[in-house]
């Protein structure tokens, strides 16, 4: 019951935070000048009037909020896709982002865990020292640096994969093999730092568990090292890591890497976001920022809650 109450309280606080963020972003973006463009069509003028663009920011705010609550209408795109629903514009752009984010996640998590386990079992051997020497480099570099390195050495020098992503008009869909082939480099670029950080976390947790006394007991009662590692240590080691992975998994639905999308020319939400800022497409900007903020808050929340769910030792305050 306590857990439920705590969960509800956290969700309530999250929604409140989201609402405040919504308000701040709305007020700030609407305070920028937004004159009626030359040669506006009647439909555009009508739409602008309906959204109250000639009224004060406060009035616009309540119209906008009212539209969202009553009709789930997040406004209109003025620039990117003229006079279309802002939410439609956004949802269409989510597909490529989710594909590359999820694929890189699916590649990175098992590899990261395997690498972490491998290194943890060889603590203080040469593999561990070599790992320690390079891991900071891999963790401290953002994915787009790897993107450039992969682009130059793999795509340009070796001729494998492609420099840029295929255009969606050239292929049958996002899951077309040619499309996926051209998305391999961005996926890899995003996976590399994630593999690095996951493996480091796994190594740290697992090597701590491997040194604990229950491990000694497990070995005493006759389990092999491998059995003891996977049956006892691994589960315990994953307790602090799983919430991180769950949080990272949810973040996949937000802009994984805005820069990666720009480097490879993938028309995802990250690129959309940059476009909205550049072109000042107000309503699409609102949808995108509120969605990103929501995903970030939600990921944090689920990650926090899963801590207490996974580890019975952690009691809710």
């Amino acid at each position: 019951m306590d857990t439920l109450k705590y969960t509800l309280k956290r969700i309530g606080l999250m929604l409140l935070t989201l609402f405040v963020i919504f308000t701040i972003v709305f007020v700030l973006i609407k305070m920028l000048p937004n004159p009626l463009p030359e040669g506006a069509t009647e439909a555009e003028e009508a739409r602008r009037a309906a959204l109250g663009y000639d009224k004060t920011v406060i009035e616009q705010y309540f119209i906008y909020l009212g539209n969202i609550i009553t009709k789930w209408d997040w406004g209109t795109s003025w620039q990117i896709r003229y006079l279309e629903n802002a939410t439609d514009v956004f949802v269409d752009r989510m597909i490529p982002t989710i594909i590359i984010n999820l694929l890189s996640f699916i590649i990175a998590v098992p590899l990261g865990i395997l690498l972490g386990v491998f290194i943890a079992q060889r603590k203080n051997k040469w593999q561990d020292h070599a790992y320690g020497a390079v891991i900071v480099l891999f963790i401290s570099l953002p994915s787009f640096v790897f993107a450039f390195i992969l682009q130059y050495f793999i795509a340009f020098k070796l001729g494998l994969f492609t420099l840029k992503a295929e255009s969606i008009t050239q292929v049958s869909g996002w899951l077309d093999p040619r499309m996926l082939y051209s998305l391999m480099l961005p996926i890899l670029a995003m996976a590399i730092p994630f593999i690095a950080s996951t493996s480091r976390n796994v190594r740290a947790e697992l090597s701590e568990q491997l040194g604990s006394e229950y491990m000694l007991l497990a070995r005493c009662k006759g389990l092999t090292k491998r059995q003891a590692t996977f049956r006892h240590c691994f589960k315990n080691a994953m307790i602090p890591i799983l919430p991180l992975l769950i949080g990272a998994f949810i973040l996949n639905f937000s802009a994984g890497s805005i820069v990666i999308e720009n480097v490879f020319g993938i028309p995802g939400t990250g690129q959309l976001y940059v476009d909205t800022i550049r072109l000042l497409d107000y309503d699409v900007f609102m949808v995108t920022s509120v969605f990103f903020a929501f995903v970030a808050l939600f990921a944090g929340l689920v990650s926090d809650l899963s801590f207490s769910f996974l580890d019975p030792r952690i009691r809710v305050r």
Binding site: V136, L137, F292
Partner: protein
């Protein structure tokens, strides 16, 4: 009794010292404080030394080296775009495959630069082979290859090109005063800036005896100073006395003074002003007068013209980008600004974070709750939103400078991290017995907070401080890279430079390599430093 009395009378000298017989060992080492131990652990690590060395190199690069460098960020030389790095490791040459006509055009630059005013006939007779190895010859070496272009195989050349003389000659309108200045410079320095004009307009008779107009390539490209064929832009070769064509000797197409053409009175005055006399018939002209204009057109050699304007030879340590801007000085400037920004952000956030975090952590309850919600909002709004809104609202309108805007934007949410850290530490330590003891002795809240509790969190704070610097730089680089923030002239930053370079990754990779490597070093060194600090401050490492 007797014996007791006797004991009193034993003389001092009968006693013998048997030495100290105690189980306690005397501590030979000096007592060591927490921080001196941390320091010792820190300097013992290899990684922290590497990190400090890298940071030192960055600082030398960003602050010290530009002092010894001739060019700055305001330079923008279109004729020196994509000049390759010229330093002790790299010569500034690059390799490219050219069609034969392009090859002869480039090689012609080297020949034409040897034109000598005082001895025109002899200098025109120079062949390509004579000019090889000459300083201004852009072709440094060549070998024959087959070039496949649009399915057709032609013979071509794979050449090593000097990217500094590659642009060769350009037509340039100058004023009369500039003419005199350049001529003075030519005499003083011994460098020739102004080379003969090319006859760009008059018609000529081609090899089939047809009367043809000048090909349009003559109009823009000042490197076509020799007679070319209409169809493939290949040069006509000169013939020797026996009428045999001499391989690789161009036929010049220089503009020559024609005494028979009508000479306007005002043009005569100009000739006299520029040369001190009216040229004689057949003299090779160094300028072209456009009647009624206050300027003349000359054909200048870009390399020496650069020396004339800058006083030094073009030689860019890291080359130039596609707009002819110097990469080294831009990189150094960008690094200075980024590091300064990150450092200031870290310091200001640290101070705000300490104050807010201590208050929230010490008083708890309502204060903590409200502060916590404000923090939630601040870190909930994506960084990029805050910064782009600040950019649009204040920086673009000119209310505040880019630097101040970024500073405010970053501080706005980076203090949260420090505050949360300190709050946690306060929660952890404020219930400890030693704090209670001090309170019982009558210590004020301020003393409890800053004398007793706060020092516990110093280690984590310093670590956070070191890690915050690369985080700020990363966000800044990303925002510039995406073009959300834009710079005014004469400024530069890593993000913009990486963005510029990305487009030329396959043709001129050095443009992106230098900023990316600098970025990698920043990220790596500060993260390494942060990790080393974290390990050094780790209380569980005490005494190890």
């Amino acid at each position: 009794m007797e014996q007791n009395n006797n004991n009193n009378h034993i003389s001092q000298s009968s006693f013998e010292f048997v030495g100290v017989q105690t189980k306690e060992t005397v501590l030979k080492t000096k007592p060591q404080g927490y921080y001196s131990e941390v320091f010792k652990r820190f300097i013992k690590k290899k990684s922290s030394i590497i990190a400090l060395a890298l940071i030192g190199i960055l600082l030398i690069f960003a602050i010290l080296l530009p002092v010894f460098y001739n060019f700055d960020t305001t330079m923008s030389e279109p004729y020196f775009k994509s000049a390759r790095p010229r330093n002790f490791l790299s010569s500034g040459n690059y390799t490219r495959t050219l069609g034969l006509n392009e090859y002869y055009n480039l090689a012609g630059i080297g020949v034409a630069t040897q034109f000598d005013d005082s001895n025109p006939d002899k200098s025109i007779a120079i062949t390509i082979d004579d000019s090889m190895g000459y300083k201004y010859q852009p072709i440094k070496s060549s070998k024959n290859v087959d070039v496949t272009f649009m399915g057709l195989s032609r013979s071509g050349k794979e050449v090593s090109i000097d990217s500094y003389t590659e642009s060769g000659f350009v037509y340039m309108p100058i004023t009369f005063a500039e003419w005199h200045n350049i001529r003075k410079f030519e005499i003083e320095s011994g460098r020739q800036v102004i080379y003969p004009m090319v006859d760009r307009y008059s018609s000529y008779v081609n090899e089939n005896g047809e009367l043809r107009g000048r090909p349009s390539t003559y109009l823009q490209n000042a490197n076509y100073w020799y007679e070319i064929k209409d169809d493939d832009s290949m040069p006509f070769w000169a013939s020797d006395a026996n009428g045999n064509q001499k391989e690789n000797q161009y036929i010049d197409n220089y503009l020559k003074f024609d005494i028979n053409a009508p000479l306007l009175e005002e043009d005569r005055a100009i000739h006299e002003d520029l040369l001190g006399k009216v040229p004689e018939n057949g003299d090779i002209m160094l300028y072209e007068i456009s009647s009624g204009s206050a300027s003349i057109v000359v054909r200048v050699f870009t390399y020496n013209e650069f020396v004339y304007r800058h006083g030094v030879e073009p030689s860019f340590w890291f080359g130039t980008n596609n707009e002819g801007q110097d990469i080294f000085s831009r990189l150094a400037y960008g690094l200075r600004m980024s590091l300064l920004l990150a450092l200031l952000v870290a310091i200001i956030s640290l101070i705000i974070g300490i104050v807010v975090g201590s208050l929230a952590g010490f008083y708890g309850g309502k204060t903590d709750l409200y502060v916590g919600r404000v923090q939630d909002v601040l870190i909930g709004v994506p960084t990029i939103v805050i910064l782009s809104l600040i950019f649009m609202h204040w920086i673009q309108t000119g209310a505040i400078s880019m630097f101040v805007g970024l500073l405010i934007g970053f501080v706005l949410f980076s203090w949260v991290g420090y505050a949360r850290l300190i709050r946690t530490q306060f929660f952890r330590y404020k219930g400890n017995e030693y704090v209670l003891a001090s309170k019982t002795l009558g210590a004020k809240n301020r003393r409890l907070m800053f004398k007793h509790i706060f020092p516990n969190s110093l280690g984590t704070l310093i670590t956070q401080f070191a890690l915050a610097i690369p985080a700020v730089i990363l966000t800044e680089v990303v925002l510039y890279f995406l073009g959300i923030l834009q710079l005014s002239n004469g400024q530069s930053t890593l993000g913009v430079m990486i963005n510029e370079g990305a487009a030329f990754m396959t043709t001129a990779p050095y443009i992106i390599i230098f900023p990316v490597v600098a970025f990698i070093i920043i990220m790596f060194s500060f993260n390494l430093l942060g990790n080393a600090l974290r390990d050094s401050f780790d209380p569980s490492q005490r005494g190890k």
